[in-house]
Each structure stands twice: as C-alpha cells, then as structure tokens.
C-alpha cells in the first residue's frame, strides 16, 4: 500500500513502496518549517492596520493567518520574510525588522 504516515524515510523498505509514487497525505507540507529561511520578519502595527486583508491576499506562501478579531497575523512558522506584505499594505502598517539573533 502507499507509504504509511508514521514512518520516517529511513525506515521505509520496498515493501512499503508498492504504490510509492502515490502519496496519500494531502497538505503534509505544513510540517515543513520555511520560517527558518528568513533574515527579516514582518511586524504589524495594529494602530494603523485597517483589517483590509490585502497582506493575506498577496502572501505567496499563505503565511498570514486571518484572526477571529479581524486582524491578520504573520505566521512565523512559515513566513520566509520576502517583504511583499509591507509593499501592498495601503496603511503602511507593516514593517520588516531584522530577524532576531537566536
């Protein structure tokens, strides 16, 4: 059958890969931390933000989360720090700051 969900690649034998070219876990990429890539990250000034949602719309990674209160929050697990959101924010409510030293 297709690859079992719990096994790591190094544990998979050919017996697990009869249908190895069919992958049955849709959206499994959500476990991949692209947030490690960035050297700068977006910060939202809620005073200026008008909840227009354009930052969410224009993010190539879908790395901005719509919150229940209507605001939009960058998801730092995924955010690659490309800097598009400040470019498209009509209120200039987003600033890119240097990623902190870990």
């Amino acid at each position: 059958m297709a690859e079992k969900k719990t096994k790591a690649i190094s544990e998979l034998t050919w017996r697990d890969m009869r249908f190895g070219n069919v992958f049955t876990e849709p959206g499994s990429a959500v476990r991949y931390k692209t947030g490690d890539w960035r050297s700068q990250r977006p910060v939202v000034d809620r005073e200026k933000c008008n909840k227009c949602g354009l930052c969410w719309l224009y993010c190539p990674d879908g790395a901005i989360t719509p919150l229940d209160d209507g605001y939009y929050e960058p998801d730092l697990y995924f955010c690659k720090g490309c800097g598009i959101c400040p470019q498209v924010c009509p209120k200039k409510a987003i600033t890119m700051i240097e990623e902190e030293e870990k």
Binding site: M17, F19, G20, N21, V22, T24
Partner: protein, 391 residues
C-alpha cells in the same frame, strides 16, 4: 454461441478492445497499426462501442492521455508501432511506475532508418526495461485472446501494471486468419469492472508522483520490480480462468513436440508457425528436435524456461531483432543469461533473422536447426550467427 470468422490481426485486437468495453482510446496512426485504430473509430462512430476516442497529435500524447484516463478510472487502450513506440518511450516508464493498467497493442515494426514499414522486434525490445508486462502473439487468435486477457491481468488489484501485446507487423496485423470470437456474456464473466484503489478523486486528494531522491528511489524501483515479477502468478491464474471459460489455455512458454527432443529451437511471434512445420518435417526424418515458443517476455518466465528445456542438450534460439554491438539479439542474450545460472551444461546457439519483415521458409528453419546444432557443438567466432541474411 461463439463464432468463427476471418479476421486480420488488427481487427482481432480491435474486437477484443471492443468486447472489453474500453472507455478511452487515445491513438495516433502509424503503419501497420492503422487498421486497429480505424476499426475502433468505426465502432465508436456507429455506437457499437461507447468510448471517448481521442485522435491525439502524437504518440507521446497518446500514451500521456491514456495514462491520465487510466488514472481517472477509465479502461484504456491504444496501439502503435516502431517510431511511434519510440516517441512515447518516456511515457511508458511513467505508466508502469504509476501502476496504471493501460493496454497496448504493438504491431512490431523495424526501427528506421532506413525508412520501412515491415515487421521485426526492434521496437519491442527497446521497452524491455520499462516495467510493462509483455506478451508475443503467434497468430490472430492469440492476438485476440492476449489483448482480452491483458485487461484481466493488468487490472487485477495485485498487478495494476500496463500490458503490451506484440503482434508482427503485416504478417499478423494484415493477414486474415480464422479467429473464434466468444460471446459477450462470456467476456463479461471473465472481465470484472476496472477499479483502481488510487484513482484520482477530489474527495480523497492525493499527490501523484513527487520529487524523490537517493534516499528512497531504490526502494520504489525494487517494489516495482517485485510487483512485476509476482504478476506472473496472476498471469497464470488469469490464463487458467481464460481457458476454463473460452477453452483455450495459454502458458508463458509453449512446447511443441518436445517429448524426447534433445535439440530444441526457440522462437517468438508469427514465424513460430513456420518453425512448427520445420519441426514436423525434421521429426518425420527421425530427428529428435522440438520447438518452444516464447509468449511471455516480461516478466521473464525463468521457471517455465528451465522446465521446457529440462530434457534438452542443445538449445537454438531464433531472434527477430539485432542488438547493435551487443551480445547477440535481445532474446538470445536474455535466454543465454538465464541459462548461465541453471544450465551451464546446455549447448547453445543464437540465430538472428527475419529482420524488417523478411520471411523465412520452412526449409530455412530446417537449415537453422542444422546450423544451430553445429554452432552449439563447435562454437563460433561470431558473437551471433544469422539465418537468411546475405553475408
């Protein structure tokens, strides 16, 4: 009541696809396959077959569309030959690795250049490593029976692999022979509906083929290889069921008058019937010769080969294809390699002939046996010898 009618090989193949109620046909014309796709187009145009007929713009697209259709859950069929077969080559790997039971008739035709339209196996042999199940038909009855049983074999949940049925270009595709056609009810009993466990389904989304690297590729290919080898059991089972319903039983290697034969000739495809007559004549003269015919090419029938030659001392293999710069013809070299492990004792000779539709007579097959026996006994300077080729 089954009926016995005169059919050329192409029409036999088309009729088998019609009776199997294929859903999608994507094909591009190439001599000598054209009659297959023309007949199917007729069936669809007259409502005798309800199928989506896609007249694609190249063979590469033909196999691509067949793959897509099969992945979506449709029973698919196509046909091609030679240059078209080569053009779809990369897609052949795709179909088998993705475990889709596309069925294809290949009207074997020699590779160009020189430009030609006549038959030999130089097209088929380039697909040896593509992971398809491959059968060679000897006559039009077998063309019909193999195409029909291929659906049963390929679609079996334990197999789910594509199947090629090879038939000699012109000498089978365009020659009229008597063919017994079964009742539709019998076909329906033999062939269950096609159901793929991983058919594309928006309600159950999957990713079909991802990027994989050194860490996992080998395991996938080994799994594919094991599945192909294990399919032989299902092929045997399907052919038993076929025989039980339709009365004709097939096996991966067919033995003809091999009892007590110390020298065996091995052949493939339609020239096997000429070889049969040569064997008859030789046996009438008191020679202990016999014929074995290779029907199943992939997965290679090792056990059946060893069984068929168990009492023989000499094996002469006739190949209808040349492998340039290699160890003889493809069939010759594979049989030789298979013998290396189990029958180092056997005397062996390989003969190549019949290229590009050049016919071989009964006398030439008798000579082939004599020549083969001599070479097997004394050895040869050449990597392979030829029959009927002007040296």
């Amino acid at each position: 009541m089954s009926k016995r009618i005169a059919l050329e090989g192409s029409f036999a193949a088309a009729e088998a696809a019609r009776m199997a109620d294929v859903d999608v046909i994507a094909a591009y014309p190439i001599t000598p396959q054209t009659h297959i796709i023309e007949r199917l187009a007729d069936y669809v145009a007259n409502g005798e077959l309800k199928a989506s007929y896609i007249p694609v713009e190249s063979e590469h697209s033909a196999m691509s569309a067949c793959y897509g259709a099969s992945a979506a859950g449709a029973r698919t069929f196509t046909a091609t030959a030679s240059q078209g077969f080569f053009l779809m080559h990369e897609v052949l790997h795709w179909v088998s690795a993705m475990r889709q039971p596309v069925i294809m008739a290949v009207c074997n035709r020699a590779v160009a250049p020189p430009a030609n339209i006549w038959g030999d196996y130089s097209d088929a042999m380039t697909a040896r490593d593509t992971g398809w199940i491959q059968l060679f038909a000897v006559n039009n009855q077998e063309v019909f029976d193999f195409v029909l049983s291929s659906f049963r074999i390929g679609e079996d949940p334990r197999v789910l692999l594509p199947v090629m049925v090879h038939l000699d270009g012109f000498t089978l595709s365009h020659v009229v022979e008597p063919v017994i056609l079964p009742e539709q009810e019998e076909v329906n009993r033999f062939l269950p509906p096609y159901q793929h466990p991983y058919a594309i389904d928006p309600d159950n989304p999957m990713s079909y083929s991802m990027v994989m690297g050194p860490g996992i590729y080998a395991e996938i290919k080994k799994a594919q290889d094991v599945t192909l080898r294990e399919s032989k059991e299902i092929i045997l089972q399907a052919w038993k069921e076929f025989g039980d319903i339709f009365g004709r039983y097939y096996s991966p290697i067919e033995s003809y008058k091999t009892e007590g034969a110390k020298t065996l000739l091995m052949s493939t495809g339609c020239l096997s019937e000429t070889a049969k007559v040569a064997i008859d004549r030789k046996r009438d003269k008191g020679e202990d010769v016999g014929l074995i015919i290779l029907h199943l090419w992939r997965p290679f029938p090792f056990e059946e080969l060893y069984q068929a030659i168990k009492d023989a001392e000499t094996l002469v293999v006739f190949d209808r294809c040349i492998s340039l710069g290699g160890p003889g013809g493809p069939i010759i070299s594979e049989v030789k390699s298979a013998l290396f492990d189990k029958r180092k004792d056997i005397k062996f000779a390989g003969l190549i002939g019949g290229l590009c539709g050049r016919n071989l007579s009964v006398e030439q097959f008798e000579d082939a046996l004599d020549k083969g026996r001599e070479i097997a006994e004394k050895g040869s300077e050449e990597v392979f010898e030829t029959i009927g080729i002007r040296e």
